[in-house]
Structures are given as C-alpha cells and as structure tokens.
C-alpha cells in the first residue's frame, strides 16, 4: 500500500509539473504575442499619421489659405504648403520653418502628430537639404518615414516627413 501511494504521488507530481510548464508557456506566449501586436499597431498608427500629414502638406493650401500671413497660430485650422496641388509655396514653407522655434508643438498638433516627434525635410534627389523643420531623430529611434515629390520654383524636390516616439 505504501509503495502504491508513493507511485500515485509521483505520477501526480509529474503531471502537475507538465501542466504548470504548459500553463507557463501559454502565459509567456500570450504576453509575447500581445507585445508584438502592440508594437506593430503603434508602428502602423505612426505610419498612417505621417501619411496624412504629408498629404495635407502637398495637397492643400492650409486653412485659411493665407495662413502664412497670420501672426497667431491659434487662428490656423490646418497647414498646407502648396499654392496648387503639388506646387509648393516658398512663403508657406518659410513660415513653417519660422514656427519651428516658437510653435513646434502646435504645428505637430495641426498636422495630427501630437503623440510623436516630427521632422520635415525638403531636399533635392541627391539629399541636399533646402529647408528643415522639427527635430532630428536619434539612431536608436524607431522612425516612420514618408516621402512626397512636389515642385518648388519649377524644380522637383523631395519632402520627407519623419515621426518617432
């Protein structure tokens, strides 16, 4: 009887150990999967935010359309940099750059990028920078980038919008 009892307990111990191992693996797998989903969702959300910001910049004049002449940023409803679709207005770009020092956060909000840091670069196709707005991302940051081509004074330039947390 004593030996039977010992066998029964050993069996139970082994079964319990296996059960706990499976349960723990389940917990670890669940947490890993949840973290991966959150990471990808965050990246997608960031990508989408800069895509819409870039579209707004190269497709609209902003609201009001003469926002570059306004002094108070609170009077601006949206930011757009073109005089007509994909044709950049240099005065609007210059006003955006001027806001960089004083109203960086407000500009981010107007572009729908409140949650992230932002950099907008206006470059030629060789990477030469004409204008720059915002902060530069660190190499350790996970950065989303979107590019748009537009005309500035008859010349094709590249607009790179970058966002990161």
């Amino acid at each position: 009887m004593r030996e039977n009892g010992q066998i029964f307990t050993t069996d139970l111990m082994i079964a319990s150990a296996i059960f706990i191992s499976i349960l723990l693996m389940g917990i670890v797998y669940w947490n890993t999967t949840t973290n991966q989903i959150s990471f990808h969702e965050e990246a997608n959300e960031r990508d989408e935010a800069i895509r819409y910001a870039a579209n707004s910049l190269v497709s609209t004049q902003g609201d009001p359309s003469n926002w570059e002449y306004l002094i108070e940023i609170s009077e601006i409803n949206s930011i757009g940099l073109v005089s007509q679709k994909n044709v950049l207005d240099q005065q609007k770009i210059q006003k955006l750059i001027d806001f960089n020092i004083t109203n960086y956060e407000e500009i981010k909000e107007l572009l729908g990028i409140t949650k992230y840091n932002l950099q907008i670069l206006f470059t030629d196709f060789n990477g030469m920078v004409y204008y720059e707005f915002g902060l530069a991302p660190g190499i350790e940051n996970e950065v989303s980038v979107t590019r748009r081509v537009a005309l500035l004074e008859g010349k094709e330039i590249l607009i790179k919008v970058k966002a990161w947390k």
């Binding site: 009887m1 009892g5 349960l23 989408e48 609201d63 949206s78 930011i79 107007l110 729908g112």
Partner: protein
C-alpha cells in the same frame, strides 16, 4: 491502520495540490478573459475612431466639395459615443476613450444615432452628419 493513514495523508496532499492548480488555472483564465474583453473593446473603438479619422483626413486633402458616405460598424456588446471636436476624433465607452488626430481643426460634428455618416468638405470645413 498505519498504512491506511499514510495513504490518506498522500490523498489529502494530492487533493490540495490539485485544488491549488485548479485555483491557479481559474485565476489565469479569469484574468486573461477580462484582458481579452478589454483588448477587444479597445480595438473595436480604435477601429471606429480610425475609420472616421481616416475618412475626414482624406476628405480634407481631397479639397472643397468632396463628400463620402461612411458606414460605421456597430460595436457588439457595449455602448460607445463618438465625438469630433477640433482636430480630434474621440470614441468613448464605459470610463475609457480613444482618440485619433486629424489634419484640420475646422470640423463640425452633428450628434446622431445612425450607423451611417456623411463626411463633407464644405469650403475647407469638414462636416460630419449622420445619414
């Protein structure tokens, strides 16, 4: 008698162990089930906010006069409220809310109950009205 008593002690220990395991498994199930329901609700609310925000941003970029009709999925199992205010779309449910940023502050939102909304660009103002 001595032998029988030893078996009973083993049995008791085994039962306690099984009960502990059962308790732990039940706790794990309950916790993950609650978490899963929260994730599901958050995800559905985010999806709804994202869908409306995406449409508003597209209509804004598309320019004056553009409009579209949007079907908002009914979120199963819980009540939610949508609000478009300045450059944010917010979806509220229970004590939570999720929000999506818009590329324009010039928005006008008419509260309603229907599952279909019209999103229009009227002179650069984005008007969201229930159908």
């Amino acid at each position: 008698m001595n032998t029988k008593a030893q078996i009973s002690v083993e049995f008791l220990i085994s039962i306690i162990l099984v009960m502990l395991l059962f308790g732990f498994a039940l706790f794990f199930y309950t916790e993950k089930n609650t978490e899963f329901i929260n994730v599901q609700q958050t995800s559905e609310a985010q999806g709804t906010a994202q869908k409306l925000a995406r449409t508003i941003n597209e209509i804004h970029s598309a320019g004056n006069g553009v409009e579209t009709k949007l079907y908002l999925n009914e979120i199963q199992g819980f009540d939610f409220n949508i609000e478009v205010s300045q450059n944010k779309v917010r979806v509220y449910w229970k004590d939570n809310f999720t929000s999506y940023a818009l590329t324009t502050k010039n928005t006008q939102y008419f509260y309603g109950e229907a599952s279909t909304v019209w999103v229009k660009n009227e002179n650069n103002r984005i008007v969201v009205k229930y159908a």
